[in-house]
Symmetry: C2
Subunit: 222 residues, 2 copies
């Protein structure tokens, strides 16, 4: 009880909704809680902010400690602060959205901290606290920003095929997109350039690999 104040202070945490594309589905990263409250329930990675780190750093640190993930794109989502959202004490949580291609997330499997796992966004287990709300809001936000930002590219590696890119858009929007219209749209944005290389993946025509041009803003446009 070494930390005392003149008036009550809440605890502040950062929780992270990490999205990736896994097996052709939008997936979210969850960890299994070891202790009460909500022992054995699944929850978002996250934890308490340290006195000398800013909120983003705290979110990234907790994410790394609990899941071994690093090197993800991070963006603030919303701050949840209902007085009773945690039964232990007043905890205010700053929620973040994180995005990364699954290929960059190999370390996760190696992490031996808590059990962690990817869950299809449409097949989530019961979740601790208000984490269900956080994921729902995160998905909404992701969909809304898809059309006027470069968010989708954070779910891909540095080079990618048009097919992969279109799949990201389709998975986030939840609807199919016409191939020709999609390519025309992307051409119009002038965000992409050919790398000159191709990738062969199945028993069919190799696909050209693209990358973002140097001038494309990789942070959200609005």
């Amino acid at each position: 009880m070494a930390f005392c104040y003149d008036y009550p202070h809440p605890a502040v945490t950062a929780d992270v909704v990490v999205f990736t594309i896994r097996e052709e589905r939008l997936a979210v990263l969850l960890i299994q809680r070891a202790q009460a409250p909500y022992a054995h329930h699944w929850a978002l990675p996250g934890g308490f902010i340290e006195p000398n780190e800013n909120l983003e750093q705290g979110a990234l640190r907790e994410l790394f400690e609990e899941t071994g993930l690093a090197n993800v794109y991070l963006e603030q989502l919303y701050t949840f602060g209902k007085p009773d959202r945690d039964p232990r004490e007043r905890i205010i949580s700053v929620a973040y959205i994180a995005l990364a291609p699954i290929e960059r997330l190999a370390p996760m499997a190696a992490s031996d901290a808590t059990a962690a796992g990817w869950f299809d966004l449409n097949e989530l287990p019961p979740l601790a606290f208000d984490h269900q709300d956080m994921i729902h809001l995160a998905h909404q936000r992701l969909r809304a920003k898809l059309d006027y930002s470069t968010l989708a590219f954070h779910l891909l590696e540095a080079t990618f095929t048009f097919g992969e890119l279109q799949q990201v858009y389709e998975l986030i929007r939840g609807t199919a997109i016409d191939k020709r219209n999609f390519r025309k749209l992307m051409r119009g944005l002038n965000w992409l350039e050919e790398t000159g290389k191709t990738r062969r993946v199945g028993q069919h025509k190799p696909a050209k690999l693209y990358r973002l041009t140097a001038s494309t803003p990789l942070n959200p446009i609005r």
Copy 2:
């Protein structure tokens, strides 16, 4: 020093960027600080969250206590948490946007707490803390949401003329809008209905008064 914890807790505040239209300009409400830090500087209204209120309640309570304002539209903006943003202690601030027509804000003048005043958004005084950043972000957000939400209507009374409505849009966007295109756009949205009444204001043709239809979502659409 009655409130003690096992590990350090930050303080949490809510700060509110209140916009209104005043004398044909977008204006922000500021209060003058009495004490250090930043004594005599202008700052956003706001203050510490109480243990048993949620964040929105705290924002509204502080706004009322410091300025006498109530009955405003409120929406969360962003959470600011740099460790050194307040020199006294670690303070994390959840910033809110509030909107209200100036007519509803008469009580403010009567408030005798701290000095409070409206400032033209383009003529802000030096501000305490990172409140400059908050206002800037709030303005950006307001502009961005203008086109796909009913935010603008919170700056008007329940009935209003087309001219007043267009002025709100022009002030937030910062550009002129063609009258005929604007009316066509609004007609297309089906948000408005005539009240049957008119308002005469100068020595010219009286303007029809409109209101939002009952089915128009007054909370943000996205």
